[in-house]
Symmetry: C2
Subunit: 183 residues, 2 copies
Amino acid sequence: MDFQTMMQTRRSCRAYLDKSVSREDLMKIVEAGRLTPSACNSQPWHFIVVDSPEGKEKMCDALLLENGRTGCPWRSQVPAFIALCEVEANVIPFVKEYYGTKQRFAPGDVGAACMNMCHQAMELGLDTCILGVTWQQKMREYFGIPEDAQVRMVIAVGYADPAAPVQNKVRKPLEEVCGFNRW
Amino acid sequence: MDFQTMMQTRRSCRAYLDKSVSREDLMKIVEAGRLTPSACNSQPWHFIVVDSPEGKEKMCDALLLENGRTGCPWRSQVPAFIALCEVEANVIPFVKEYYGTKQRFAPGDVGAACMNMCHQAMELGLDTCILGVTWQQKMREYFGIPEDAQVRMVIAVGYADPAAPVQNKVRKPLEEVCGFNRW
């Protein structure tokens, strides 16, 4: 599948078959994250592959928030998760000093890695959903995440249930989000 | 080219041929940005395609920072630029309230859009470099960017000079950035 078609057809998947994902495929997905470009090649990320029964149980618990809500009511069906943590980019002091900027590039870099991992999964015939909200403190405790790192998102990975309805892709019209030589 | 090969071979390009990029190709690149998934489908972005001589002159000026430094000394060679602005995500108040989180997802979403645009360019035979630092105030003035938006990055787009040396892709080893069911 060419990239343009991937962009047009990729959907978030919220209904998974009861079929496990191989470690080989999970590692290919992580590899796409690892190879992602980042500001000054800082690579401000750490990936946690969660595929054991105990790990998944903990992940399902950490996807239920302190206020009892969740972005992922179907989480117990998911065959594997990959948590993306943002780590302090070593490049930041240099960039700040040299360019005189306070900009933080790491959140965008982690977003790029996440996108690449979803596309790599798609190429392997897998489906994904990006989950943004987690109970950070539980994630830290359950998975040994250090204090200077932060879970930015979790990718659910598995095989879509073909019986589930496919959502339409709804986007703002081009004219609303794009200008030429001007906003 | 399959996605895995794209990930392995994509490089930042810092030497461009004197060859313009068609509007058709630039629009396909913007389309990949527009179709990018985002937190609660908030689409917190605006793209500015810069391909006119006047626009490029302004962009080159805004890529020179207040302190006289630049991440892009070769900017005058670049046939086209696309600025990615982050706009306030309408979804944020809802997300904050419902999930009880202060997390901001927009920077990661814009990073994902940027990555997709670079891959779409690659599929069209184009090369890119992601530029992080700009003189924000000049960007605002030159391109009419509103106060509640922020330029997150600029993508340089063109055809790589085949005579330029290809950089090796240097990344942290997998063991350093990945754990299983644990950090």
